[in-house]
Symmetry: C2
Subunit: 219 residues, 2 copies
DNA sequence: ACATTTTTTTAGGCAAGCCTAAAAAAATTT
DNA sequence: AAATTTTTTTAGGCTTGCCTAAAAAAATGT
């Protein structure tokens, strides 16, 4: 239906909208997609012709409902494939993204549905991101950043704000995975670092850089 | 590494070579790939430049060892994905080919290896075709055509010569699947039809068209 | 052997998706 | 408000993979 490239543009615009930006500008799309502004303008025109987004010269773009559906479906497929790679093929959570970038473009509604069933209708991917339903509904998670959480509560590691492989590998090294219980024992205003207790046992320090990229919920 | 299109050309040339043809001509490639002879000449030149095949003007082409490896690996991935779709996602054997045509181009050696392990190292795909090993070795099956088999022996349905969805659906309808026991009770020279007994119970007739597209081995 | 048909290649062109360089519009600074 | 900077768009060009039409080579028929 839509090309690999078109789907990637739509997905990128969708994700930029989610991050609060109202209307998405050419340069930010170019940056995410590692391409040039002129190429983005070309593609934007094409997608506007196909009614996938609204575009007014020099004013940025916004997805139409049609465009949003395509984008969300691509995200859905991406996250389902990540679950498959992680749960069934035993890939690490730092390895699944790249392969899912390819798999998300496989075109078969029946395949997506059967995959979802095979995985037992997962609600979140291996990074804690919610999986859109077939109808395009995404349940907003009520996770908070670890750096914003109150001390002493028992928190459950539920997701990441930084999805890069290096960050995920760092979390592996310090044994923080989805489901790990975290209790903040001390907050340092000076550098934003925190002292934590993991699974009620292991005490350690998290730098602000780490604390601001871990999503938790109160147990 | 190689594009979707390049892999499809190599796979097509490989399959035409397997069917006995020594050197593969332009028109036959065009026919399989549903394209024009001029386009094939274009691509052949490109693949020859990349040392994936040997090409002499007007003399047809033959894969190099390098080209054969790419082709066989594509076949390997295709058949492994077919197993996944059939065994794990419960697709019918008439539905798996089309989706595997997309999945076979996913580029990750680790993924292929982990998929193979997850499927428990299958040796044959849902149509009875052998799965190449990681090193590119394909075990030649010693299956024979049902129409060439001797009467009264107990035969085991082991593969198909015709891979079209209509034929596979027809086999579904008459309850012939991989593993079904078939005994030829009568051969009719006039029209090539045969009388068979399925699983030692059900008697029925197979037309020559059916009998010549079923592969069996002697039990 | 020569004429005809078939196959293959060449030539030139098109769409998708990318690029650079230049122009135009918008935003920012002074 | 004018000048400067940044952002965006346009113009023109590239590669990949496809096409049609015409030319060239090979195969076939007489």
């Amino acid at each position: 239906m839509y090309s690999y490239t078109e789907e990637n543009y739509l997905k990128t615009i969708y994700k930029l909208s989610e991050q609060g930006n109202q209307s998405i500008n050419t340069n930010s799309i170019a940056e995410v997609l590692q391409t040039k502004a002129a190429s983005v303008t070309d593609m934007i025109k094409k997608l506007a012709d196909k009614k996938l987004l609204n575009y007014e010269k020099y004013k940025g773009v916004a997805l139409t409902e049609k465009g949003r559906k395509v984008a969300v479906d691509t995200v859905r497929k991406h996250r389902l494939w990540e679950c498959f790679l992680y749960d069934k093929l035993k890939f690490g959570w730092d390895e699944v993204h790249e392969i899912a970038e390819q798999l998300e473009h496989i075109n078969s509604e029946l395949l997506t549905d059967k995959l979802e069933e095979f995985l037992d209708f997962p609600t979140h991917d291996p990074h804690g991101d919610p999986i859109p339903t077939k109808n395009g509904v995404i349940k907003k998670s009520n996770f908070i950043l670890l750096c914003d959480a109150k001390p002493n509560q028992i928190l459950v590691m539920s997701g990441v704000a930084d999805h890069t492989a290096v960050f995920l590998q760092h979390l592996n090294k310090i044994s923080v995975v989805l489901g790990t219980e975290i209790q903040i024992t001390e907050k340092n205003d000076y550098d934003g670092s925190i002292a934590v207790k993991l699974s009620g046992i292991k005490s350690m320090y998290f730098s602000k850089d780490v604390a601001k990229n871990i999503l938790v919920k109160v147990k």
